[in-house]
Amino acid sequence: MSNNILTQNDIQHVDYKDVDLLKQFVNPHGRIMGRKKSGLTAKQQRAVEAAIKRARFMGLLPFIQK
């Protein structure tokens, strides 16, 4: 039984506009969590990474947080 946020909430697609969701997969410095920490499957982790990077490019998420 996987116990990650995406499975728990039955989220199939990760959207870069869902900043509040994506913020749960970055640490206070703005870095993307590893799979060990996020608890995501490989497929989910790739989707989250892509979404976070899109959100960063569009200025919705920070690249680094001081």
């Binding site: 946020i5 909430n9 989220i11 199939q12 697609h13 990760v14 959207d15 870069y16 506009k17 869902d18 509040d20 969701l21 749960q24 899109r54 960063r56 490019f57 569009m58 200025g59 919705l60 998420l61 920070p62 690249f63």
Partner: protein, 179 residues
Amino acid sequence: MADDAVMEINETDTDAAVLRIYEVGYHITPSAKEEDLEKIVASIRSVIESAGGGPSSGGKASFIAEGAPSLTKLAYPIMVRVGDKSIEYDRGYFGWIKFESAIAVARSLEASLKQNQNIFRSIVFRTVREDTRAKMKAPQLREVKRTDTIHKAPRRVEESSAPISEEQLEKAIQDITAE
């Protein structure tokens, strides 16, 4: 049957025939007026329509979903060079459109957005037809028991609101000074 399958593959191989789902996200400069936002969005839509609607391209662009531009604070200041000057934006009107079109349309849209003076950042990428927004609610912040709030507890009732007589007062003073 087998021939049909091959035909299909051949057809999808040509760029123009393939319709794909794309999403475009854009930031309109905050200096743009609220009334002009619609015009700017309409110009983006027209690029998609005009590029994809041609009969020669074989495909028709169609819109699936759209998010109206709303003023958003950026996570970091975005610098844009315009000629010699560089402008720093700390906010922008962020909007998005999901559409279905041929590959060439997405390419030309990307190029036209880069040329657009009103848009300082944009992204075009492939996505799926389904709604990708998460339907989960933002996680509720853990309820913290506050200790710094002042409860409206009944104050100590003022003792003996009745006026104190001179004698009582004098006696009390003497008691204090005697010690």
